[in-house]
Amino acid sequence: MSKQLRINPTVCDGAAMCALKAPSLIRMDRWGFPIVNRTPLDTASLLTEAERAVAACPRKALFIANIQNKPKQ
């Protein structure tokens, strides 16, 4: 079980507040939309970055998910 930063791409508008708050986890693609890294948030600093990004998004597009470690079907 690990925590991961995830995005709902259907509501993301490309405001890019997340990339400012979580530079270790998010970079912007050439169209202005975030590429969200699925690295497990297993350090305090990663988790803090993720929480700040979630709070900063004006569309509430980001969330922190608990992901099972076993391979998905």
């Binding site: 709902n8 791409p9 490309g14 969330f63 998910a65 099972q68």
Partner: protein
């Protein structure tokens, strides 16, 4: 070994009109053996059989049917069972073939599912433009009402005429009063939302297989659509039949596109000796997807066809997600330039970069499928890609008599 379709059903190249000679479409008599009526079927036994036979969904994903069913049963009563008759894949007519020739088999399957999950209603979801199928299905529903065959009411709901209308999350979204575009669910969350009664969507063929299984037949066939120059042919293929068996008369293809417009290109040599059977193909890293088989012969330019497909897919984007909207448009534009011999090295680099930027970044799998299809074209036709980069297409005949896949090319797109 029993098929549902005992003979191939031949459709015209485009559109959803019924084939000739299916006027009396409801040819399967309604008065069947009492123990085969949906209301009398032993549901526990059927559930065990579905699990044992490892029945998989035939809408494209081939997901284990038992898993979806168990989740919907667990979610409680009062939900909706849906037959997905929105066969938006342009090359595919296997579902239409079933509706025109065996509507009661599919509707029996739908009733069975509705009973299994204690649904309050059953819905057939179909594109509003498929008018002849809608008539056929409504006629069959009326017959069943007269005969009091169904315990759970069934009705038709018409879908917007778009590719994404056939995606299961789009259906759930629409039936929960939203737009018919794929909604987003968090990892692990059910398609209908964790606090709602279940909405369980099954492909038309899956339902037919379930009804067939309930009547005692093992599901050892797969329905595929073969696309030939002027026709689309629905064939119920035994699990042991190989691709070479399917093409043993006529020309041998150079390669095939398997599983729809967002499917995968494979060379003929890779596939010829393999059976038309999803579990076996999966071991070789290949999937039947929605069951369409589109051959490419040496006189057709595969790069131009891929560009046509990329253009079609970009048009069909639900446009909810930035990476899909911009990414599929860029892929269409760069593939079209490549097909005209006008893609520079920098453009090719951008094309490869775009292919890496799409997977996993949309709300549905349209961008993933588009990227995978184009990647497989580059892998399967490296010499043609190279030739186009040097501005020389080897398929000189292609420019004079361009062969178009259904719904692609110069037709105005909806």
């Amino acid at each position: 070994m029993t098929a549902i379709l005992n003979e191939p059903v031949i459709f015209p190249y485009e559109g959803r009109t019924p084939p000739a000679r299916t006027t009396a479409a409801h040819t399967v008599p309604l008065a069947k053996k009492t123990n085969e009526q949906p209301r009398n079927i032993n549901l526990d036994l059927l559930l065990k059989n579905i699990e044992q036979q490892q029945l998989d969904g035939r809408g494209g994903a081939h997901f284990p049917t038992i898993t979806k069913l168990r989740a919907a049963i667990k979610a409680g009563p009062g939900g909706i069972a849906v037959a997905n008759a929105a066969e938006g894949e342009p090359a595919s007519i296997k579902d239409a073939a079933l509706w025109f020739t065996h509507p009661h088999l599919v509707l029996d399957g739908l009733q069975i599912i509705a009973r299994l999950i204690n649904a309050k209603e059953a819905i057939v979801w179909i594109h509003s433009t498929a008018t002849e199928q809608i008539h056929t299905i409504q006629h069959a529903i009326n017959e069943r009402n007269t005969a009091r065959r169904d315990t759970i009411p069934t009705r038709i709901v018409q879908a917007p005429d778009r590719y994404v209308s056939g995606q299961s999350h789009a259906i759930v979204n629409a039936l929960q009063s939203g737009p018919a575009v794929p909604h987003f669910r968090k990892p692990g969350e059910r398609a209908w939302g964790d606090n709602n009664p279940p909405i369980l969507v099954h492909n038309t063929e899956t339902l037919a297989r379930i009804a067939h299984l309930a009547a005692g037949h093992h599901p050892d066939h797969t329905l595929v659509t073969l696309v030939e120059n002027h026709h689309r042919i629905a064939i119920d293929v035994a699990n042991t039949t190989t691709f070479a068996d399917l093409y043993n008369t006529g020309r041998t293809p150079q390669a095939v596109l398997l599983g729809g417009y967002a499917g995968t290109w494979v060379t003929w040599d890779t596939i010829a000796h393999l059976p038309v059977h999803e579990p076996t193909l999966k071991q070789h890293g290949i999937s039947l997807g929605a069951g369409t088989i589109i051959p490419i012969y040496p006189d057709t330019c595969p790069i131009r066809i891929t560009a046509d497909l990329a253009t079609w897919l970009a048009h069909e984007s639900a446009r909810q997600c930035g990476p899909c909207l911009y990414g599929t448009a860029d892929l269409a534009s760069d593939m079209t330039a490549l097909s005209h011999g006008q893609l520079k090295k920098s453009g090719y680099k951008r094309l490869l970069e775009t292919l890496n930027l799409l997977p996993g970044r949309g709300g549905c799998s349209l961008p993933d499928g588009t990227a995978a299809m184009i990647t497989s074209a580059i892998t399967t036709f490296p010499q043609e890609v190279e030739a186009h980069m040097r501005r020389k297409c080897g398929h000189l005949q292609d420019t004079q008599h361009p062969h178009r896949l259904p719904e692609t090319g110069t037709r105005k797109h909806k």
